[in-house]
Amino acid sequence: MKRVLGNKIDEEQLITEVNRYLNDYHVGIDAAKRGIIRKYGGADSSSFVTASSVVKKIGELTGSEQNVDIVAKIVYVENKDITVKGLSKTIISGILGDETGTASFTIWEPGVTVLDKGSVYNFRNCYCKLWNEKVQINLGNRGRVEAAAGVTMDLPERSISMSSSECKIGSIKEGMGNVTVTGRIMSTEARNVMVRGEPKTVYSGIIADDTGKIQYSAWNDFSLKEGETLCIKNAYIRAWKGIPQLNMGDRCEVSRVDSVFEVVNADSSRKTVDEITRIGGGLDICVEGLIVDMKAGSGLIKRCPHCNRSILNGVCTAHGQVEGTPDLRLKVVIDDGTGALGAIINRADTEALTGVTMKAAEGLAMAQGEGVVAREMASKVLMKRVRVTGNVMSDNFGPSMIVKGASRVEVDVESEAAKLLDEVEASI
């Protein structure tokens, strides 16, 4: 206790305090210690917590630990600037590993802590959480990091490299670990980005097979060329706003394949909303369904001339009071019986679907008010069957599409009905 409190209290005073707790108030020794240290604010007030923390291996973590000590090696580390309640701060995050596994970690109050990749540290008083069914290790203001001098640690070869699974692009899902795909490079471009403070060139573009297309990012130069067909091993999937993307990292192997195969329909891949929900999102997806709802923000809107955001009452969230430029759009819900998809439809397609032109909308708004425009458009599109194409992303409210192309759909009811009749008759 004396060590903890340092020179904040002299020995005599300490003994008096202890006596008071133990003999006058008859509290237990542990409670007395805790109380006194709290009262005088130990130099390292967290150390008393250490007493009750447990030591665990990464593989033993369940994600519910409140106070745990972990000895682990830094697999990867970076500083991140984040904004918390409007204040920017720097945190450290990365990946820790020991003999039993790896987990991501975050140090929320790093102070002057500097961690070296490949070194082993003792992480004290961590708390764990589960996110996406994976354990995350956190160090809050009680947490401490100490160099574990003399400890060496060999991490096992990552087992996932064994289990790279072959899959079709159309069935790639967010969070898939390690995949092998065969597809054709539809486009490629080089971009210079800063990664961990160093300039790096990434090569990105679209790759497609017969089931779908996906955006890829190659973090090394595989000298990818448009039009060639590749077999890509050990790629990993990360989602951006729910859209899965294929990443080709250090462990990725690329080989050229001769086989000629049909790439997915050049413009888009047809999916049901249920299929989209399972995947999370994707590029150039085509959905057919009924417009079952139209949301606020549809019809005649104003956009900020600087940033093109839609604005309300002449005020842009970024640029304040502005003279808005008029535009038309629809925010609708499309339901195909397997699920519901939010869709934002641009001016040209809005005009085509509703038959209400920009000019007509402005005339209508002038004569009868802006709300009338949206109502008029709703009456033109509600319960109508449409086919929309665009990029789909997902959030808590489900999938939504930024529509690139929209058209009305005609159904050949009679031939479809005849098909159904044949099927029913055949099976009864």
Partner: protein, 302 residues
């Protein structure tokens, strides 16, 4: 926040034959009606002929009741103050006409545990026959899919949700179907639903002589949609029965609220009128404008 609920395509016969519910357990979590074929319905998309509409509220606060007939039966529709758009639309709709609506399902359970299902449209719009026919086609396909799935799963006594997903069903389909098979306590009446498909196909292909082998009397509702009220008089002896029912209504209406349905049914049964016939007769009387339903439990003379 949950993703938006899918609008199921379900015929009136299937929806109205539902008696199972999955009630919300937490605030803001949705409730579902589970049909015998396993459609786990919170929201529906319906279309058909609006044959009746009535404002049972006031002019300032309208409360619309309506009946929408598809090829298999009638949807009971209520529109109140919480559906402002649908309410405004209701005022402008002139019956009879083709409409399509999307909305939530509500249930009402009588004292003797019978369940009535009604629809509260968020949107209801006038449509043309093409849209209505497309709906019939889509709904027939969807019914057929559920029927096929139900048959398959009935042959797999130990099937769990994962097995159903592997067969290509959606999460909602798999979940609803297992719930229905586990809780209805009896096999779905496949003849009834095949007959709805037959009616749908007949409507879509009138010139083909479609016969899936189901006689007309399997359904308790008229097979063909009749746009002109009063012409679906049915068998001759209904005329007599109509008078019997009208008299009963008057007798049973002790407090001005109308005659309770269950009581009416008991009395009718005693007179040799089956509940199916009673339903038919009350439909006819409603079409003739002689009676109405102040709410789903009661029938009242005008």
């Amino acid at each position: 926040m949950n993703p938006r609920e899918t609008a199921w395509r379900v015929f009136a016969t299937e929806l109205n034959s539902s008696s199972l519910e999955i009630k919300a357990t937490e605030e803001k979590s949705p409730s579902y009606v589970v049909t015998p074929l396993g459609a786990k319905v919170n929201r529906v998309l319906i279309a058909g002929v609006m044959t009746e509409k009535e404002n049972i509220g006031g002019d300032d606060e309208p409360m619309w009741k309506a009946r929408i007939q598809d090829v298999t039966g009638s949807f009971y529709v209520n529109v109140g103050r919480y559906q402002p758009e649908a309410s405004a639309a209701m005022a402008d709709i002139e019956i009879p006409c083709f409409v399509a609506a999307v909305g939530r399902v509500r249930t009402y359970t009588t004292d003797d545990q019978r369940v009535f299902v009604s629809v509260r449209p968020e949107h209801i719009v006038k449509v043309d026959e093409t849209v209505r026919n497309e709906w019939i086609l889509e709904t027939a396909k969807s019914t057929w899919r559920r029927l096929k799935n139900a048959k398959t799963v009935l042959g797999m006594p130990d099937a769990v949700e994962a097995d159903l997903l592997a067969m290509g069903m959606t999460q909602a389909e798999a979940n609803g179907l297992l719930y229905a098979l586990d809780n209805y306590g009896q096999m779905p009446d496949s003849a009834l639903y095949l007959k709805t498909i037959q009616s749908a196909l007949r409507m879509l292909m009138p010139e083909r002589d479609i016969d899936l082998g189901f006689p007309e009397d399997l359904s308790d509702e008229p097979d063909e949609i009749d746009l002109e009220p009063g012409t679906n008089g049915g068998p001759a002896n209904y005329g007599q029965m109509e008078d019997v029912i009208l008299n009963m209504l008057e007798e049973l209406d002790t407090d001005g609220k109308g005659a309770p349905r269950d009581e009416l049914e008991r009395r009718a049964e005693a007179e040799g009128i089956s509940s199916i016939e009673l339903e038919e007769i009350s439909n006819i009387l409603m079409d003739k404008g002689l009676v109405y339903e102040p709410n789903l439990r009661y029938l009242k003379r005008i």
